[in-house]
């Protein structure tokens, strides 16, 4: 079970990013727990300066855009 956090201020891109991760996880049959984080404290803690950002099992893997499908597949398989 992977814990995926999508950090963002609730803008359209962040919602899309979360949906993408959810869709890919379902496709791959990987069990994930997706959380949307919008608190400034969380962004500070992970050192995120551009959103949406993706944190997988407490590691920041991406920030600043909706990630590509391939990268999401890699993160979830890795």
């Amino acid at each position: 079970m992977k814990t995926v956090k999508v950090l963002g201020s609730g803008c359209k891109k962040c919602i899309k990013a979360a949906e993408l991760v959810e869709a890919v996880a379902l496709e791959l049959g990987v069990e994930v727990n997706i959380e949307k984080e919008s608190s400034p404290e969380a962004m500070l803690a992970y050192g995120v300066m551009s959103t949406p950002a993706i944190v997988i099992d407490e590691t920041l893997v991406h920030s600043g855009s909706i990630p590509s499908r391939e990268s999401v597949v890699n993160w979830l398989n890795g």
Binding site: G8, S9, G10, C11, P40, E41, M43, L44, G47, V48, M49, S50, T51, G64, S65
Partner: protein, 331 residues
Amino acid sequence: MFQIFTDFASWLVYGQIGLTAETKLGDALHFFVEDVSKIFVLLLLMIYIIALVRASLNIERVRDYLADKHKGLGYILGSTLGAITPFCSCSSIPVFLGFTSAGIPIGITMAFLVTSPLINEVAVLLLVSLLGWKFTLLYVVVGMGIGIISGVFLDFINAQRWLKSFAAEALERGRQESNVADPHEVESTITMLERHRFAVEETTDIFGRVWKWVILGVGLGAALHGFVPDGWIETHLGDGQWWSVPAAVLLGIPLYSNATAVIPVMESLIVKGLPVGTTMAFCMSTVAASFPEFILLKQVMQWRLLAVLFSLLLVAFTLAGWLLNIADPFI
């Protein structure tokens, strides 16, 4: 070079639709078609070209660059980088915290954040094509000036006292660590293909966000152009009556818009005889002093700092407006 858009509008509105230039509707529609087609073509072209150049500039790099700069220079750089860095108001909080936790003084961070919505490549492009380079230069100088002065003032009054405590602590920590070199900084080089990809993405993204604003702004501008009688604005507001500037600033607060929508409106207002300073004060207030933006900042600032910042901007826009109205005959 822009004649082609005038010709296109004439062909469409007078030729194909059959309206005449003498009717209000024909006049307004011609204005609308000319400006929208011109702006759309320019936007697509220029955003792509600028993005090609800018592909290697990201916000993390800007932060590292600002983190170890001398203070006096820092305000100017903060404001300049605010003008050229792509930025969406929904990331103002993470950017604020990122800068702060790198130990960058709040004044420099705010010089960046205040300038950012006022000046960007789309705004500059629109200004040059609609109002000419002279006015553009004036706008950029005033916008950056306000960003720099706000930053200096906020540091002067020790504004960091009024940050939310977690942000203040981050600033303190950042200051102590700020001399440590960043170990994860890897010099990345990007290929031309990556630049192209970035530019295409950037163009679709920005264009997708601003096209409706262009339509709205030009639509309003066209309505003003066609339906407000010539001389009305000039008679009532054209002498630069002193109260017209603060009134314009106050009027701009509840109107929340971005620079893209406001600039075509500016064009019409100026053509109709509204003084330059009054117009500029109104537009900057619409773009930068907006409640949604300030509610976002509430997450990291106490009410007191928000109130100071808000008043500061309103005073700055008013002063800039007055100054420009006085200087107008000499420009």
